[in-house]
Symmetry: C2
Subunit: 706 residues, 2 copies
């Protein structure tokens, strides 16, 4: 861990704010360092004492003779800035400010936080917090922290690091993991993130050799796009990143707004990043436990084909249900596997998948047969992962079964999971043997299915990431600066330049300009004005125009309506478009988000668009394969393949259009605020934008993604 | 427990199949009875022994002098029928057949099961199993069982009864509950259900005064409709029924088919029953634990408005997210509550909802203030339930907080939940105090939200059930016997009789029969034939007919097409219908299911119908309020309220049509197999069936519901 090395492996820690009151944060920090045997220097600071808990106590930071790597500050907020100034003079590289009373507490606190930060920046000092529980390095017994992080039980050493924007909730995850025998490397509660934020900490952990898995609780990020880069770096490094995103609903976001005032960003966009970067989302505490156990096994399924074996038919059914709901499929065994199983599975059992070797099988003296059965299934090339339902298996049978699996696990590259409901004390040490063998033992078949699905998802993301082509090449992408809002005609011209097909249109001043015979009716007639964004509402649209006479009437009407209903609008003319009367209506667009930068959204169009919200999104830019993934997520996807005897539609063309749109948005992220293509028609052999609007971005601040 | 009293409280138990091999089921049963201190007579049976484990051992059932209330049979299948015959002669009222080798094992086993059942029926004996783990009455130390049910740890006594179609998985739920200190009354593994089935057991438990909550794991029911009646009876009795339905996906059902060969029935229909009968579905083992704890609290929220309080902002956000996802809303506090909170919550905290009394509040000497704060929130009439996030609170603070809540819980009728992540050993006895006070303590805020939602759902179902009017009155419902398939015209005539509006149609033999001037174009022209069910496919439909000339052509065409493409079809003429060109297309219908009887389905129609599967269903008959609930579940529901400036549609008329359809289906359940209304148009002031098909039922067996 190059970055933040002295923060996490300090040779000395000064603690400002120790007191006879053991509840005070500083006192807690010193007590914890002493209790846990921290090997560096501890400098308690309080001008009232000369010693504290047997240590020399100093009146101030300045009074310390040796170097101080970390200053832990736990005094009331009003005194913090002056201590930070002391630290700056002493050239302390890191301050961990536990105290509250900063940005989260109103105007005065905001000013205080700004002053503190200015002092630190000036001195090149880095700050953790304020308003945080602090940081710990479990391997090195470093606790620059207070509260739950410092209380028993002591976390065991392991390879998981936790970064959390909520000390209380984040440490709840750590405690639950600890009860499941999971060990930790670093625990980091980031508090207000005045200086070092979640992104920077995760970035540093990716370079920490001792950290193998990172768990983060995130309420909001100032730069959501950084999470995409970080996630991809984590993927490439082979370090799974598990994220619990809080504040994802309206009520949750409102609760967060009153809590730490983080910008939360749209949950849809976070989910897009999770997909693009192979970040595993967790939504329950036990998922953190299960997924960590799964990833600690270091084995990844090559696909989503799973086998389930056991003596409990009900457990197999429950697993099969959960597998299907998680996007896994039960493998079809090879004849060879079935033959091998038939030799060792009782006649009343089942040699297909689920394998039912009947209840009491192992206890009935079938240990050798059990090994043969599991080995046969593990060896089947149609099987990517195996769930063993031990269910209520207990005592000697549980131990014997565990020993078999433990031996097999050493030899197989496939993930093997056990569902076991027997209390630990009744497993005849079987649970211990399984845990030693790094075989995840989970409390329900549903949890096993979810964990296998998480592994599969991670592996798929790794492969996608490795094969992804660089999409920031923009040779074919126009550079534009729309300023305000472009008209339909202008917007479509941009799209066409970007490689997206548009309907055949002409823009005219009046009916006399139209060469009717060159157009294929039915036609749409729409007003063209930079000032009219909702054309329908002012009677600026006429559809299904079929004859020259109808066309003349329609053009006259939309012009009249615009003049009378939008008298101040500049009128550039009328656009006459060939209507698309087949295919399927999609909507597509770009939102240039303040937190995530340009994001491409696609969804089902038409009457259902608003109610069904059948949409998905990805951060731009992306390739056609990603665009296809997006389309695959839509509920309306089967319509694109042709339903009710209708022809299949050109999914590849839609994907090309989306990828082109993503490049357009990315390339012009400084100048485009929004692009709406509504509808984007999927047709049998093309994809065509029938209406479009491009809105310029006011360049108040640099775009996200610079 | 009148029903099955001697089964669950036997004065004597004979165990057939004891052996020196302790693993044999009979041996396990006797050992368990002895170990747990069963107070009745135990009669081990094996002609080889004179004593077994210090008890007199008998050569046969006949050799026993006293009465036998329950015979437990654990010998190989081939010997079971003869033992059942012995039991019949001895007038044993109940046999628990543990042995496998019956229906689940092929032809021979099926015959054996039938013979056994015939003997039992003849003698008036009732059978549990075969192929089951057996039954236990934890209160009376009765174990007519083997396997996991008989193994340590011994379940503690309590008020939960478990009925499971899978011994291994069902007992896994019991073991998990046991670790969470939940106590049990009866545990019943039903096995093959040759005689007594899940429905009958649950029915008996509803009459058992000691059973307060029933948990069932169900793979399939022969009579799904019985679950509706049972659920309603459970609702009326105030005994929550928690059901885990296994085999709900395609893969799960396939696994079940090979397992016990139960008819599984459609999961959609099970879910309909769950909604109609207030059955709480569980999909994870921890949900069983959480919901049991919630229901054991015996307090129900009056609505779905929840408050959340704590010192961990992150936990509050996570709760708010989960609450929204579970259909709960965060209460808006009264001014009085906010004022009361302002007196006791620190300035940097928050006095709205979530209440943030800041970390370390209780530890900081604020026990009295904490009580005032919680009391204020509990007293607010806008609050229906409260979640207290203790999160990592530990030691003395945890105990003090627990004592406050314990005292408040005694006085409030509102449910109070605690999220606590501190390990039990570090809670300073606080966990114990909370559990004593029946305050559910759950391991994540998400679990608290789900548990509150389950309570709310249960309370809503109770209210709905109490106010439901009897819908089997069918004065206005026609009695029909369609035989085969009715034509569109005939089908619509039936619907009209049943009170469902239909489009204005005439059936004619040729164009000369049409009085064109009496019809409002556009018109639809469709072939009428009892032999043609897919009119479009043979060119039997012409739409958008606007003039007399077009009509004549259309009629000639559909007749010609029918003659040439369906030469053997009987042609009754042509139906000319006024087309509905506004409103929203729904689909509605009846499926007379083999397991559930008549079920009404409604959903979004049109192009999205097949892909989006935006449908819901209820068992017929039902009232308009239920029909409205159905519509409220549809994703397309907002369209009915008018979107994009379109008028609101007549939801009440649609609900009336659905209720009428449900009465039609119920009243004619012996004769109707299927009704399809596609489309059913929702219009601004009516609901109109534009096409319909009624299919008769072949009366091979009495309909479900008799």
């Amino acid at each position: 861990m190059k970055q933040f090395e002295r923060l996490f492996e300090p040779r000395s820690i000064a603690v400002v704010g120790v007191s006879e009151d053991a509840v005070r944060p500083g006192s807690q920090a010193v007590h914890t360092l002493l209790r846990n045997g921290y090997e560096g220097q501890i400098y308690p600071i309080n001008p009232k004492y000369t010693t504290f808990e047997g240590l020399d106590c100093y009146p101030s930071i300045a009074a310390i003779e040796g170097d101080v790597d970390v200053a832990v500050i736990g005094i009331p907020a009003r005194g913090v800035v002056s201590v930070i100034e002391d630290c700056a003079r002493k050239r302390v590289p890191y301050a961990v400010v536990l105290s509250g009373g900063f940005r989260e507490s109103g105007t005065e606190g905001i000013a205080r936080q700004d002053r503190m930060l200015a002092v630190a920046r000036e001195a090149g000092m880095r700050i953790v917090g304020p308003n945080c529980l602090g940081v710990a390095n479990i391997h090195k017994d470093v606790y620059a922290a207070f509260g739950s992080i410092t209380r028993p039980p002591k976390l065991r050493k392991g390879s998981v690091s936790l970064v959390t924007q909520s000390g209380g909730f984040g440490y709840s995850i750590a405690l639950a993991c600890a009860r499941a025998a999971i060990g930790f490397r670093n625990v980091i509660a980031t508090g207000n993130e005045a200086d070092i934020d979640t992104i920077e900490f995760i970035d540093a952990l990716l370079d920490d050799a001792q950290t193998k898995i990172i768990v983060a609780y995130i309420e909001g990020l100032a730069n959501g796009r950084a999470l995409l880069d970080l996630g991809r770096r984590a993927l490439a490094a082979g370090k799974p990143l598990l994220v619990w995103k809080g504040a994802v609903t309206e009520q949750g976001a409102r609760a967060a707004a009153t809590h730490t005032a983080n910008l939360t960003g749209s949950y849809d966009f976070y989910q897009a990043v999770f997909k693009q970067a192979g970040i595993i989302e967790i939504k329950e505490i036990h998922e953190a436990i299960d997924f960590i156990k799964a990833f600690e096994g270091q084995k990844f399924p090559r696909g989503r084909r799973v086998a389930v074996m056991g003596g409990s038919g009900g457990s197999a059914i429950v697993f099969a249900d959960a597998a299907e709901r998680s996007g896994l499929t039960l493998s079809t065994f090879s004849e060879r596997t079935k033959h091998a199983l038939a030799q060792v599975v009782p006649d009343i059992g089942a040699v297909h998948n689920p394998v039912d070797f009947t209840a009491g099988y192992i206890a009935g003296g079938n240990v050798g047969n059990f090994e043969t059965a599991v080995q046969a299934v593990l060896s089947d090339s149609n099987v990517d992962a195996v769930c063993l339902n031990f269910a209520t298996t207990a005592g000697a049978a549980c131990l014997a079964g565990a020993q078999v699996l433990s031996a097999l696990a050493e030899k197989t590259p496939k993930p093997l999971f056990v569902f076991l409901s027997t209390p630990p004390s009744e497993t005849g040490n079987g649970l211990f043997v399984l845990e030693e063998a790094k075989i995840p033992v989970l409390g329900s078949p549903v949890r096993v299915a979810h964990a296998i699905a998480a592994l599969a998802q991670y592996r798929e993301a790794r492969e996608r990431n490795a094969s992804m082509r660089n999409q920031s090449e923009t040779a074919d992408t126009p550079t534009i600066d729309p300023g305000g809002t472009l008209s339909e005609a202008e917007s479509k011209a941009v799209l066409e330049c970007a490689g997206i097909s548009i309907t055949r249109d002409v823009v005219v001043r009046g009916a006399e300009d139209v060469r009717f015979e060159e157009l294929a009716p039915p036609l749409a007639v729409k007003i063209v004005s930079p000032d009219i964004h909702h054309k329908t509402e002012i009677g600026g649209v006429r559809l299904n125009v079929r004859t020259r006479a109808e066309l003349e009437t329609a053009i006259a009407e939309v012009l009249d309506n615009a003049h009378s209903l939008a008298p101040y609008a500049r009128i550039d003319g009328v656009i006459v478009s060939e209507m698309v009367i087949e295919g399927f209506e999609l909507i597509a667009g770009i939102v240039n988000d303040a937190v995530f930068g340009p994001v491409v959204v696609v969804g089902a169009g038409g009457i259902h668009a608003e109610t069904l919200r059948d949409t998905t999104c990805r951060l731009a830019p992306f390739d056609e394969r990603t665009a296809r993934d997006m389309l695959d997520e839509l509920k309306c996807r089967p319509i694109l393949d042709g339903t009710r005897g209708k022809p299949a539609l050109d999914v590849a063309a839609v994907a090309r259009a989306l990828a082109a749109l993503s490049r357009l948005g990315w390339h012009n992220r400084a100048t485009i605020a929004e692009v709406d293509i509504n509808p984007l028609f999927a047709l049998p052999s093309s994809a065509v934008a029938a209406d479009a609007l491009i809105v310029g971005r006011r360049a108040a601040q640099p775009p996200i993604g610079e």
